[in-house]
Structures are given as structure tokens and as C-alpha cells.
């Protein structure tokens, strides 16, 4: 059996994407590293950022890990990535904006088109906007900073909160974790740093938006979130990129620490163009009675390999991982979840919904692990796949490592197709075929979209509609 996907031209797909998200700006960056990766490029990034020596050492060591580690042979087809054909650092502006007026007009126009300043006004506690390698705008409501909430781009956090930063950075995901975590650790730039002090609840979400603009770009943002005891935060990230004929690479690392009784929700709406490799490591440590929730929707990219994970290291911790993977023509979504029950009485709930169409491939890859001594754990995993046509494919790879007897583990998987009767029924009421199909798909993922704030649920359904346009025939 072959795992290889035939190479498909990327220019003619997701037509609707082009107009709304697939445009690009012709801007002259302030600095662009030469193509390719070596210690010199890595050192230059560190120098340009005026980092302390320990960080430069960390980067160079990480580069060694990256070079030593073999490419994963599972997941998706990675062999086409040419690491020497990528720009690893591209600085679009000299300084980060404190107001949108500070942001260069071209770049601001892009974020306007994407609706970011508007959303900030309406329903967010703070916004970060990253453009290629750097954050061009970052702001949090003053009432929150007054309570001690920190929301900065990660580079600024290293500068302004060196101790808090160093205490946690790289502790959840060490550079040696996997090849792409090592790559990120060597080249990281941008991303969000959040600290929520004890007992503080951030009511409205904080949002970051990641935009790739340049061709052959590598974006390596790095996010670190620390939720102190009894605190709460909801962080939302979105991303898009122009459509290019050559590939871009997005390899982020997201580390989260949720302390005793705290709760963190992390929502992603991944909508990269179809020429982006999206290889992201996301992991959270949940301490005693803490709750970590990943809501992870993947609609874009050429290949996504992403398995948000939660290590439950304190008694009574809880993990919730809800994911959507939508693979259209030429796309492969290898998404999933990983829950590690490393303390007694911890509970987890995993729900995955995958949709594949026009030859796309979407799958669930998941691990449930219970370590010895973690009695009283409970885990339920439910994966549902919806396949829209004969050419498309869905895979499920559930792994389990259970080292304890007194646990309750449930796993359930279903595969379905859009029924002709469903389409006929909806169409008989006057609804056009592609809208009818989009409706069935929206219904299929509803158990997850209903978890999203209203604005994002609307956005999500709009994106699904875009994916479905002109598809059925």
C-alpha cells in the first residue's frame, strides 16, 4: 500500500480562497535572511533580536538537534520539503505598532481585509498580529494589564520578563522532542506570551493572527501561555497565506502550563493556503484540578501534522481536545490528539471530526496513555469521519498505552457519507446542492462549532461553505 499522494497543481484549487485570503502585498521587508539554514543564519536571527547569550546557545543547540533528527516517516509526505529553499527570517517592519495607525498602510490593509481590527473592537480582550516573522501589532486592554495579565509577543516577553520567561520556556516541549520542534527552537520568531495571574479570569478571548505574506517563507512562531492557580484565559489563533506555486513552511511550537485549578482554552482556526506545510507541536501541562481545552480546526494547508496534547500531571486534571480536519483537493490533514494521564483521577475527552472531499485525505491519529499509579482515570475518544466522494480518504490511527488497571477507557469511531436522501431532502426545500452539502457538513461538525464563541462559529460555517463551493456535481 502506498502512502504517497500524487502531486497536484495548487493554483486551481479552493477558488473561493483566492479572493478572500489568497492575495499578497508587495512590500519591501526591512530585513530578509538569505535562503537556507545554518548556524550563521541562526546566530544572525538571535543578534538581530538582541537576545541574551543563553537564548543564542539554546538556538544553536536546537539546530544541532534538528540536523541530527531524521524526518518522520509517518504522518504525511514530507520528502518534498527543501529546507535550503526557505527564508527563515523576514522582518517586515522596524517597530511593532502600538496602534493600528503605526502599522504600514499595506500591511494594515491586509489585516483590515481579514477583519482583525474590527474583531478587536467588538469582542476581544487583546490582539496580536504577526506578518511573516515579526509581530506588527500587539495590544491588550488596559483593564487587564492593570490586573497583571501579560500579553506580549514572545520576543518582547523575553526582554521584559526574563525570569518568568526562562522558568517556563522549553520546559513543556524540549527542543529534542521532534524534528520540527527542534527547527522552531532554532529559528523561532514571534508568537504570543501570556501570563494570567492567580485567580484572574480573562472574560473575552485574546486573539493572535498569523499571516504569511512572502513566497518560500518559513514562519516559526513560538507561543508560551502560563495560567496561574485558579485563573482562566481563552486564546484564539487564526492564520492565512497567499496562494503561491511554491511551498511555504509553518512550524510553530505552543507550550502551555495550567496551574492548580486553572483553566485554559486554546482555539485554532487554521486556514492556510494549499501550499503551506503546517507542522506544529502543541502541548499543555495540566496540574492538579486544572483544565486544558484544545479546540482545533484545520481547513487549510497542503499537509498538516498536528496532535495537540495534554499531560495531566496533577490529581483531578482534565483534558478536552476537540478537533476538526477538512481535507479538500490536494490536501492531507493528519490531525489528532494526545492525552497522557500521569496522575490519579484525571479525565479526558477527545472528539474528532474529519471531512474529506475531492481526493483529500483527513485522518485522526491519537494516543491515550495512562501511566502506572494513575488509578481512577477516565478517557473517552470519539472520532467521526465524513467522506464526501469516492476519491477521498479517511484514516483512523488510535494508539493506547495503558499501564494501570483501575481506569475507564472508551473509544468509538464512525465513518459516514453524505446520503443522497439527505441532499434530496434539503434540495426539495429549495436549497441548492452545494449549500445543501455544506449544511450537512456544518451539521456534522456542529458538536464542535457550538463550543466556539458565536463570531467564530459563524466564521467557521462560512469557511466550510467556501470549501464546499462548486464542489458537488
Amino acid at each position: 500500500m502506498s502512502d504517497q499522494q500524487p502531486q497536484q497543481p495548487v493554483l486551481d484549487i479552493r477558488e473561493g480562497y483566492k479572493e478572500k485570503f489568497g492575495f499578497h502585498d508587495d512590500i519591501a521587508p526591512v530585513y530578509k535572511s538569505r535562503k537556507g539554514l545554518d548556524p550563521e543564519v541562526v546566530s544572525t536571527i538571535s543578534e538581530m533580536k538582541k537576545e541574551p547569550a543563553w537564548m543564542r546557545e539554546f538556538r544553536l543547540k536546537s539546530l544541532e538537534h534538528f540536523e541530527r533528527k531524521p524526518m518522520p516517516t509517518w504522518g504525511g509526505r514530507l520528502s518534498d520539503i527543501d529546507f535550503q529553499d526557505i527564508y527563515y527570517y523576514l522582518k517586515p517592519v522596524d517597530e511593532q505598532g502600538r496602534t493600528w495607525e503605526d502599522v504600514p498602510a499595506d500591511i494594515k490593509r491586509t489585516f483590515d481585509k481579514l477583519g482583525i481590527p474590527e474583531a478587536e473592537q467588538k469582542f476581544l480582550s487583546g490582539v496580536g498580529a504577526q506578518y511573516d516573522s515579526e509581530t506588527v501589532y500587539h495590544k491588550i486592554k488596559e483593564s487587564l494589564s492593570a490586573q497583571g495579565v501579560i500579553f506580549l509577543d514572545t520576543g518582547s516577553a523575553l526582554e521584559q520578563h526574563p525570569d518568568l520567561f526562562r522558568e517556563h520556556f522549553g520546559t513543556v516541549i524540549p527542543p529534542s522532542d521532534n524534528k520540527f520542534a527542534a527547527l522552531n527552537s532554532a529559528t523561532w520568531s514571534g508568537g504570543s506570551f501570556i501570563y494570567v495571574p492567580k485567580g484572574v479570569k480573562v472574560e473575552l478571548p485574546l486573539q493572535a493572527y498569523f499571516r504569511i505574506n512572502a513566497q518560500n517563507m518559513g514562519q516559526f512562531e513560538r507561543t508560551l501561555i502560563i495560567v496561574d492557580e485558579g485563573a482562566f484565559v481563552h486564546y484564539v489563533e487564526g492564520c492565512t497565506a497567499p496562494i503561491y506555486a511554491t511551498d511555504s513552511l509553518h512550524a510553530a511550537v505552543v507550550e502551555i502550563v495550567v496551574k492548580k485549578g486553572g483553566r485554559c482554552r486554546y482555539t485554532t482556526i487554521q486556514n492556510w493556503s494549499n501550499n503551506v506545510y503546517n507542522l506544529v507541536t502543541k502541548r499543555a501541562m495540566a496540574h492538579e484540578d486544572a483544565t486544558m481545552e484544545w479546540v482545533d480546526a484545520n481547513l487549510g494547508s497542503k499537509l498538516t501534522m498536528k496532535y495537540p496534547s495534554v499531560y495531566m500531571v496533577g490529581r483531578g486534571a482534565h483534558a478536552e481536545i476537540l478537533s476538526i480536519a477538512f481535507a479538500g483537493k490536494g490536501q492531507h490533514q493528519d490531525a489528532g490528539a494526545k492525552v497522557v494521564h500521569a496522575a490519579p483521577d484525571t479525565t479526558s475527552n477527545v472528539m474528532s471530526k474529519s471531512i474529506s472531499k475531492d481526493g483529500g485525505r483527513a485522518g485522526y491519529r491519537g494516543l491515550v496513555k495512562v501511566t502506572k499509579g494513575s488509578g481512577g482515570c477516565k478517557s473517552t475518544v470519539k472520532c467521526d469521519a465524513l467522506i464526501l466522494d469516492e476519491d477521498s480518504r479517511s484514516d483512523t490511527y488510535p494508539y493506547m498505552e495503558i499501564e494501570e488497571d483501575m481506569v475507564s477507557i472508551g473509544h468509538e469511531a464512525t465513518v459516514s457519507k453524505i446520503g443522497d436522501e439527505q441532499l434530496f431532502y434539503l434540495m426539495s426545500r429549495g436549497i441548492p446542492e452545494d449549500e445543501a452539502a455544506a449544511m450537512v457538513v456544518s451539521g456534522f461538525i456542529e458538536p464542535i462549532t457550538k463550543e466556539l464563541p458565536m463570531e467564530y462559529a459563524v466564521e467557521m460555517n462560512r469557511l466550510i461553505q467556501l470549501q464546499m463551493e462548486g464542489s458537488v456535481g
Binding site: G419, D420, E421, Q422, F424, Y425, L426, M427, S428, R429, G430, I431, P432, E433, E435, A436, M439, V440, S442, G443, F444, I445, E446, P447
Partner: protein, 254 residues
């Protein structure tokens, strides 16, 4: 006068097998027709073919709606034009609420009628409430997923609720009485009667005479083996009740 719905010498095949073998019938707005026939006579085939189910192939003949041949039209075009089918077995669409579905459907129908603007949310809710009261379903119904976990009676009520919202010109009711207890049958029939009037033509497809105690047709047609073998007034239904389909079959063969 051009009939609202005019079925002309309709032949329909399912998976290559001829089922309807030359069926002709006209239904006008303001009329209620009943088509009665034994199992396998082609009743559901007629309903599906009229609505444009792609599984049912019109091999010859025509379906005219306001004089326009719609036999080649997709189901959604027919629906937007004002044709409606109350399904015998309504399909569940998990995750899609009745209200959302009806909002989309109503918008599509209004758009086809030249009104680009969707109904304002407030008016839509008011309309929903009014029609749900007519079918005696409680408010929570709007938020439930279409036909998902509905009882037989709820499904049929939901069909008539949709009909009430979409206000078709011609409604085909495919064995709407099947699987209903007496109370549910009464509620559903009252719903249909409340909607009937000069703006609506009804084609009621049924195996049993029972529903005709509640909905009174002016015209009754007997379908046997893909053809209408006898047409008459409401007295024909009673004749059927007394003599069964065999009596009619023999009489028409003679």
C-alpha cells in the same frame, strides 16, 4: 386555463424498471386530490418523480408547472418554484436545527420570488412561533436537529410545519398518514386543512381511506400498476373502502 400542475402521460423507471406507465393528471390551486393505490402501485414513485429525485428517471411524458416543463429541473429549482413534497420517510440531518434549515429554505424561496432580502430575524421567529402553534409542537422544536430522534408523529408534523412556512402552490403529501396514531393524524390533518385554500393545491397520496375522514378531497384517483384506472369524486374513496382495490381492478379490467 393552464393547470397549476399538469402531469402528461408520465412514464417513470427506477433502476431501469418501468413503474409509472402513462399517468396523466391535473391539479389546480384550490383543489385537493387524493391518489389511492395498493402497495407497489407506484405512489411513492410518483411523489419522488414530481419532486425531482434523481433516482427516478422520467423516460417519457412531461411534468408541467404553470405550463412550463419542469421534468428536467433539479429538486431545488422545483422547490423554489413552489412545489413541495411531504416525505413518507423524512431524512434526519444531525446538527442542523429546524429553525436554521427553515431560515435557509425560506430565504431561497423568497429569493426565487424576487425578494433578495431575508426575512428580518424577528419576523422569522414570529412566523415560526405561529406555525409551530398550528402544528402543536412546543418552542424547543425549533432548536432540535431536523428529524434527528423525532418520533413518527413528530416527523410528520415537522413536514407540515415546513409546508406552512414555505407556502408552496402545490403540495404532494406522500402517505402522511402512515405511522400516525389517531391524535397525531388529527393534528396533522388539521394543519393541512388550515393551509388549504385558494392558493394551495394538494395531492394527497395514500394507501388507506382513513386520512380522508379528516381531509376531504374533491377528486379521488385510483392508481394501479402505474396507471390511474379510475377517477371520481369523494364517493370513490368509500367505494374503495367497501370493495377494496381488487373490486376496482376487476371493474376497470372489464
Amino acid at each position: 386555463m393552464t393547470p397549476t400542475l399538469h402531469i402528461k402521460d408520465l412514464h417513470v423507471a427506477v433502476e431501469g424498471k418501468p413503474i409509472l406507465k402513462g399517468l396523466s393528471l391535473s391539479v389546480n390551486k384550490g383543489e385537493i386530490h387524493a391518489i389511492m393505490g395498493p402497495n407497489g402501485s407506484g405512489k411513492s414513485t410518483l411523489a419522488n418523480a414530481l419532486m425531482g429525485n434523481p433516482k427516478y428517471e422520467i423516460t417519457s411524458g412531461q411534468v408541467l408547472f404553470h405550463g412550463e416543463d419542469i421534468s428536467e429541473w433539479a429538486a431545488d429549482e422545483r422547490g423554489r418554484k413552489g412545489l413541495f413534497l411531504a416525505f413518507q420517510y423524512p431524512t434526519a440531518i444531525p446538527g442542523v436545527s429546524v429553525a436554521n434549515f427553515l431560515r435557509m429554505a425560506l430565504q431561497a424561496r423568497r429569493k426565487a420570488a424576487g425578494d433578495e432580502k431575508p426575512l428580518p430575524p424577528k419576523e422569522f421567529r414570529k412566523l415560526m412561533k405561529e406555525k409551530m402553534a398550528l402544528l402543536r409542537v412546543d418552542d424547543s422544536f425549533a432548536g432540535r436537529y431536523i428529524n434527528d430522534g423525532f418520533s413518527g408523529g413528530e416527523k410528520k408534523r415537522a413536514e407540515i410545519l415546513q409546508m406552512a412556512m414555505l407556502r408552496p402552490e402545490i403540495a404532494v403529501l406522500d402517505e402522511t398518514d402512515s405511522g400516525l396514531d389517531i391524535d397525531a393524524l388529527r393534528i396533522v390533518s388539521e394543519g393541512v386543512n388550515a393551509l388549504a385554500g385558494p392558493d394551495l393545491g394538494v395531492l394527497l397520496i395514500t394507501h388507506y381511506q382513513r386520512i380522508l375522514n379528516y381531509i376531504k378531497p374533491q377528486f379521488v384517483h385510483v392508481l394501479v400498476d402505474g396507471r390511474i384506472v379510475k377517477s371520481g369524486g369523494s364517493e370513490l374513496a368509500h367505494e374503495l373502502e367497501a370493495h377494496g382495490y381488487d373490486g376496482i381492478r376487476e371493474a376497470s379490467a372489464a
